[in-house]
């Protein structure tokens, strides 16, 4: 954070590349300059210099950043790639000073004790899923916390497992032995715990001889890629491979669909086209783009643990704005490829009263809906 003073607070970071809308989730939500990336960096510096005392409000400003990386994408300065690191470092500093706000403390404590942010029993991680344990299969299917415990995430996992089984793909899961991937833990600044989780997962996977991993959650995909030593795929890539190779052939679906890019798939890992290819392979499906898409996508507001503690909730929430944007395209389905996005947007569609107009569905669900042969 030695260079944090280099932020001029010019504001390029608030926008997508055409400047059409505010694209920083907390700034779009709260509109006070303090919630912009520049405001957050200036306040972080002021906190470190002792100009501003720590407070509940400061913690909300610092932890409401979803780490969506729009700021880094659109900053014009030489330090652009460090911005998210600075936010993570600020959080780390807060944690190390013992100032973690309760919602962050509970989130991290639950992961430390139970391996998931909700504090649910480990045995519930995969006891609901009928899938075999990994045993030297071609792929390890890594579920991640959202797909293990959250209803909408679970349905994503079930759908994908069904497709894998019908396509005859050799895969297995870790079950109770799977541990939180740690992506959010890292983004919240608890680097020690992240290291511990990463080591634990690495050890489990290495001992089983895992070489290839499929992650359903882009957050897990991002974290496991950083473990090193494994070939990691996002499930959208596998779906596209199965379609390309003719292992599965989607049936017809006469629907207008828009695709919402998850931050940890798109901006973090540059995977924009495979999910679209999957959708475009469905006969009759009309794919329309939202105004903000690909590297300019607007985050659902769920990153950095916000899918649990949701500091951005309310009628101006990014998820609700995103659902409205999707509805404006005339789409009947918002296609998602991330369990956090699915939950956030699904709730938002309900809150906006748009549930009957736009259904939030993940790629596997769409493929199954149209029928596969």
């Amino acid at each position: 954070m030695m260079d944090i003073h280099r932020c001029f607070r010019c504001g390029y970071c608030k926008f997508p590349d055409d400047f059409s809308k505010y694209n920083c989730p907390p700034y779009a939500r709260f509109r006070f300059e303090s919630f912009s990336p520049g405001g957050r960096l200036w306040l972080t510096r002021a906190f470190l210099n002792g100009e501003v005392d720590f407070s509940k409000h400061l913690s909300e400003i610092i932890f409401s950043c979803t780490a969506c990386k729009n700021c880094a994408e659109n900053c014009r300065m030489g330090f652009k790639d460090e911005i998210v690191d600075w936010i993570v470092s600020a959080r780390r500093e807060i944690l190390e000073r013992g100032l973690a706000p309760p919602f962050v403390r509970d989130f991290l404590e639950n992961i430390r004790k139970y391996g998931n942010p909700w504090g649910l029993p480990r045995k519930q991680r995969a006891d609901w899923l009928r899938a075999k344990k990994y045993d030297g299969d071609d792929y390890l299917l890594f579920l991640g916390c959202e797909c293990s415990y959250e209803d909408r995430g679970r349905s994503m996992a079930k759908n994908f497992v069904e497709i894998l089984e019908r396509a005859g793909v050799s895969f297995g899961i870790l079950g109770e032995n799977e541990c939180c991937d740690g992506n959010e833990v890292f983004m919240l600044g608890e680097l020690g715990l992240f290291q511990e989780l990463a080591e634990r997962n690495k050890k489990t996977m290495s001992e089983l001889g895992v070489q290839k991993v499929i992650a359903i959650s882009p957050h897990a995909y991002n974290a496991i890629k950083s473990y090193e030593g494994f070939e990691v795929f996002h499930y959208s890539q596998i779906l596209w491979d199965l379609i390309q190779s003719g292992e599965i052939k989607p049936g017809e679906l006469r629907k207008t669909v828009t695709y919402h890019d998850p931050c940890f798939l798109g901006r973090y890992n540059g995977i924009y086209e495979e999910p679209r290819e999957v959708l475009n392979s469905v006969p009759g499906l009309r794919l329309v783009e939202m105004e903000r898409n690909r590297k300019n996508s607007f985050c659902c507001g769920g990153g950095s643990g916000n899918f649990v503690f949701d500091l951005l909730r309310g009628s101006y929430s990014p998820a609700r704005e995103r659902v409205r944007e999707a509805a404006e395209t005339g789409a009947e389905i918002i296609a998602v490829a991330c369990p956090a996005c699915k939950a956030m947007l699904d709730d938002a569609a309900k809150d906006e009263g748009l549930k009957d107009r736009v259904a939030v569905m993940d790629l596997s669900e769409i493929i199954l809906r149209c029928g596969i042969s």
Binding site: D3, H5, R6, C7, F8, R9, C10, G11, Y12, K14, F15, D18, F19, S20, K21, F30, R31, F32, E33, S34, G39, W42, L43, A46, E51, V52, D53, S55, H57, L58, I61, R76, M77, G78, F79, G314, Y316
Partner: protein
């Protein structure tokens, strides 16, 4: 009276703050002027809410500081006498675009970026005059400080492009000026008495703009640039005269800076031009080349070869290179005196800029923009500083203050001057004009609540 509660009643709890964090952020801009924390920050969502805030402030004689993106770098939105900062960026609707009449009606929170994107998407044959400020700058804020944009060489200061205003006066009345005062159309402020002048350039001391009509202009399909390079600054004024005489250029920018070294001791005159066809572009290019052919023949100047990367950089709109100047010293800051001077003073201004920089042991940069057909120019005396190095901040501040003085000595006027420079201007201004300013303010704002400290004429 519980002012906080009263503000909450007006705009809702979500849009009022008295938290230390907001007070800190709104106590300063990115420049080096003095800082003061406001008592509250409020974000109204409509003219009616602005009106209620003004009435409240008037009743209790609380200073009001209307702000856009706070990007002047000269502290014009710093609440130097505390009070209520009114962040207008929630009011960001583009209310109307009249395509055939080529004007738009916008709210004060509309950013340069938003209007640009909106027009490109919905009215691709229209554009507005866009400054090289970051896209987060507000259109209205730029107009209220007499900003300049890429069409200023053609049409003058951006403030001359106003076609109508809706203002909440300091007493709380909502007032419309121009054709919109008696018609549904916002086409012009003329031929009525020119009341708009009471609000433009006054830095929010005479009211809060809640709607503004703005001239739009033809947007051509193609845009190109030629960069004329010469090493004798004395010749720049004549080069500009010749280029502007052709009436082929859209925008004319001057640039001089010591780094990178390829730019040292040469002046770049960037000439932007546009057209709807290649034929039009090539015709204009030819006219522009011909206009300075005598300098090419005498080897006093020549056009620079631009690689595609460099050309793309030059054509970026807004030019982020202007903002990136803040990172020259890897220090996150720069200040500048935008001197509005006669173009004939270019060489002298450049000489002074270099002297000032040398005296204060600081690096510098210069970017200038021709306004009108050479009627005047904005000549920036720019100095980067390192926000983490107090000494460098002090040097930049001293160099800036000296630049204000140099501007006045050149017969120019500092643009969007900080308080220090406002005082210098008022001291030198025709006494009766200064008195008139004071009388106008007193008449409009009897309680002196509007952005106090700015444009204050000493008794």
């Amino acid at each position: 009276m519980d002012i906080y509660k009263a503000l909450v009643d007006i705009v809702g709890e979500e849009f009022v703050s008295r938290n230390e964090e907001e007070l800190y952020i709104y106590s300063r801009d990115s420049g080096l002027t003095e800082r003061e924390k406001p008592d509250f920050v409020v974000m109204p969502g409509s003219a009616e809410e602005v009106q209620k805030i003004v009435l409240l402030a008037n009743k209790y004689k609380i200073p009001l500081i209307p702000v856009g993106a706070s990007l002047t770098l000269s502290g014009l939105a710093v609440p130097i006498r505390k009070g209520i900062v009114v962040d207008l960026r929630r009011m960001d609707r583009i209310i109307e675009v009249n395509r055939l009449g080529r004007y738009a009606v916008i709210e004060p929170g509309v950013t340069q970026g938003k209007l640009k994107a909106f027009l490109e998407r919905n009215y691709p044959d229209l554009c507005h005059s866009m400054p090289d400020a970051p896209p987060s700058a507000t259109v209205v804020g730029n107009i209220l400080i007499h900003g300049q944009g890429n069409l200023s060489q053609l049409y003058g200061f951006n403030s001359t492009m106003v076609t109508g205003l809706e203002i909440v006066l300091p007493t709380g009345k909502i007032c419309r000026i121009g054709s919109c005062s008696l018609s549904p159309y916002w086409f012009a402020v003329e031929p009525l008495p020119y009341l708009a002048g009471i609000f433009l350039g006054w830095f929010g001391t005479t009211g809060i703009i809640t709607k503004l009509g703005l001239r739009l202009y033809p947007r051509k399909r193609l845009r190109d640039i030629e960069v004329f390079v010469l090493d004798d600054p004395e010749k720049v004024a004549d080069v500009v005269y010749r280029i502007t005489h052709t009436e082929m250029a859209e925008d004319v920018i001057t640039m001089e800076q010591p780094y990178p070294m390829m730019f040292r001791d040469v002046v770049l005159v960037q000439i932007y031009f546009n057209g709807d066809s290649e034929e039009e572009i090539e015709f204009k290019r030819k006219m522009l080349w011909n206009s300075v052919m005598n300098y090419i023949r005498s080897r006093d100047g020549g056009f620079m070869f631009l690689t595609p990367d460099v050309q793309e950089d030059f054509l970026e709109k807004p030019a982020s290179s202007v903002t990136r100047f803040a990172d020259v010293m890897k220090g996150g800051g720069f200040v500048y005196c935008g001197a509005i001077i006669p173009v004939e003073k270019f060489a002298e201004a450049l000489r002074k800029l270099k002297e000032i920089a040398k005296r204060h042991e600081i690096t510098y940069g210069h970017v200038g923009r021709i306004v009108g057909r050479g009627h005047c120019m904005m000549f920036s005396f720019s100095f980067p500083f390192n926000r983490a190095d107090r000494a460098s901040m002090e040097r930049a501040k001293e160099a800036l203050h000296e630049s204000y003085l140099a501007t006045l000595e050149l017969g120019g006027i500092p643009w969007k001057p900080e308080l220090f420079a406002q005082k210098m201007i008022l001291e030198r201004m025709d006494k009766n004009a200064a008195e008139l300013m004071k009388q106008i303010r007193g008449l409009l704002d009897p309680n002196g609540i509007m952005n106090p400290g700015n444009w204050e004429v000493e008794p």
